[in-house]
Symmetry: none
């Protein structure tokens, strides 16, 4: 079954919001054996919507429309769809009652323009909306399934999960299962090189690599018959990939490197403190984005100035004078210093040149040192990064999380 997601809304074409509805629906449909082949966006224009819908119905089995179900004049999705498939819109008294109740509960008066939201295509399955006024619907027309859902994600998502997805699951012929192998420390082309034969002979499961800033993700996808016995078609392929890439593969469930590293840390019960220079608190803010991290995270000290490095972390003035703030030696003393000051099991440090200014021939923008001090000693890593200030800071964080992850795996 081929699906297409057609979003209606001028705010998308103006760039005011991203089409996260299409992303959400796309991530869910494959579980019901439905592949998404196209996303489209059109504005609040009935003529263009009509054309896009006709095209979608000609090439896809399932067309899911989002947006344009509201009370205002430019909300024209239902009217346009009804015209294209030649169905009448009829008043659904239940929808009207629910809507009136919705306004009453909130102590607001229902304005007249709301009533049109209770008109729905004849013979459709109604999709109730518990977070807003506009109901959605599912229609079967000439062997095609048309779904209409409102645009606000806070309304659309629960409606999709509670009604639309169960509707498709009950009718599924086969299902797809995907696993995301996330990789850090090997570039995209090198990953492909190491897996070339597997990629060449892929059929079921399939393999698709893609790169994001500083890391690579492999999506492996298997197709299952609905009535096939329980078996894991993905596991042998995952194992073979892990055998080749080693512990560069850090997760298989789309958890991020920071989630993996924080999870391992909480599990290990080791306490952590951080000393940051060029990342300016970014490493710490990512760690503290994880609920529960307060069990193991004690403090972070962002020392931007040299005298703060000396006062707060005990970095020796001689070290700064001899080697500079961006050096292996300073990184080491920062990590050891923050560990000592806080009395934690692990101390992590970052010092580098994030740019755009501040680089020299000897120490260019992108030169970063990270260190990890633990009970038995200290490891320091030198990074040569490139790109914007923001990219250098973000990729540095990935290296820090990877350094911690590898250390925690080793002592496990």
């Amino acid at each position: 079954m081929k699906a297409e997601i057609l979003a209606v809304g001028t705010e998308l074409l103006m760039g005011q919001i991203a089409n996260t509805n299409a992303q959400y629906i796309s991530s869910r449909l494959p579980d019901a054996g439905i592949g998404v082949y196209y996303h489209d966006v059109v504005g609040d224009n009935p003529e263009r919507l009509k054309q896009s819908l006709s095209l979608a119905l000609s090439r896809s089995d399932v067309v899911i429309l989002t947006g344009g179900l509201g009370p205002t004049r430019d909300d024209l999705t239902k009217e346009t769809v009804a015209a294209v498939v030649n169905r009448k819109l009829v008043l659904d008294q239940d929808s009207l009652d629910i809507m009136e109740d919705f306004f009453k509960k909130r102590g607001r008066k229902m304005t007249h323009n709301n009533i049109k939201q209770a008109y729905l295509p004849e013979g459709c399955t109604i999709v109730r909306n518990s977070n807003g006024t506009a109901p959605g619907c599912i229609m079967e027309v000439n062997g095609k399934t048309i779904v209409m859902l409102p645009g606000p994600p806070s309304e659309m998502r629960p409606m999709f999960d509670e009604t639309v997805m169960p509707y498709f699951l009950a009718r599924a012929e086969y299902r797809l299962e995907s696993r995301f192998l996330r990789i850090f420390g090997i570039g995209e082309s090198a990953v492909e090189d190491m897996l070339l034969d597997l990629i060449d002979k892929q059929s079921n499961p399939t393999i698709a690599p893609y790169a994001r800033d500083g890391e690579v993700t492999l999506r492996i996808t298997a197709k299952y018959d609905k009535n096939s016995p329980e078996e894991d078609l993905l596991l042998p392929l995952e194992n073979e990939i892990r055998r080749r890439l080693g512990d560069a593969v850090y997760s298989n469930d789309n958890r991020s490197l920071e989630q993996i590293a924080s999870g391992l840390l909480i599990e290990s019960k080791k306490t952590l403190s951080i000393a940051e220079s060029c990342t300016g608190g970014l490493v710490s803010s990512k760690f503290t984005d994880m609920p529960g991290i307060s069990q193991v995270f004690d403090r972070a000290i962002v020392t931007y100035s040299n005298h703060a490095k000396t006062e707060e972390l005990g970095v020796k003035k001689e070290t700064l004078d001899a080697f500079g703030a961006v050096s292996e030696q300073t990184a080491r003393e920062m990590a050891e210093g923050v560990r000592l000051v806080s009395g934690t099991d692990i101390g992590i440090s970052v010092t580098g040149i994030a740019g755009p200014g501040g680089g020299t021939e000897e120490k260019p923008v992108g030169l970063v040192y990270t260190a990890l001090a633990h009970e038995q000693g200290t490891v320091v890593k030198k990074l040569d990064l490139w790109g914007s200030r923001s990219r250098i800071r973000e990729v540095t964080c990935l290296h820090v999380f990877d350094m911690l992850r590898r250390y925690l795996l080793k002592i496990k």
Copy 2:
């Protein structure tokens, strides 16, 4: 001129990422008098890409493709576009040299599959990529403009800004100029209420309000003939809006609150230190995202544990015992403490409950205190925020930047 944005990438159809490239490009093109009428997404499939491209070329003047320019086998955008418009791909030696240099500088070996990225359509304008390996291009074909850009936003955005946008601006028939008035401290419906008569009678310039987490932006847009005399149609409207909203309007050039606050700080030459608890380094990381901030920013101390607050900032144990870590008193002592410890002109602090756990009836999730200590005294602000952990942390940062901005304006 009608534009269409055609994204290529199975990762979009699988819902792994949202199509933020289309959003970005859509938000910029209107300035060159180009309206965006359609977004489309297809997977890494040459047949469907061919069909979508043909449709786009039949209905739009400008087609911008993103994605599918990389080194791997499923990167097929250039090859497919070249076939549709009947142009040869030829080796661009400069692109190859730049790419070889890119790998050499990073001490990595260029694998053979990278070479195809240096093949570009005959007669195109090359769009250089300073943040990755794949160059993009602009082609004029039978009165239509086709642009190809890589998928990763960190590469696509600078390429679009530096080369594609100037290309269109130089050819624009009329131009739109937008100014973004950013507002903090007044809600969206209140802003609309205060400007109702202006919004009702708008024609040229137009006014569009929209709300993002915690703040409101007004986009005011004027349309100019290309040959019209120099005049600023936006200024009178901007002045009237400023008259009504006062210094809640914090920028008119889309600079963020953190950029404004950092700019004022650098200008004032006052030095700053920060003590953070629930934001865990986020305030500091946003400050240090600004190049040049090292002139005035000394250090940040992220004290997650109570004893770190006492050890690092001198918060009194009695204060913590009597009022708790999340209290006006603790916020005050944190700000005064970090100012004293670092010897800076200004000390800022944040302490609160970001959730999802940790709230009580008396001190619910979303209760946050921020304080600013300066030469003459200390101000403390209590915030009652709502939403997810991440939203509470982000909105807290806005309040901190606004607090600093208002203080710096006052002493200016």
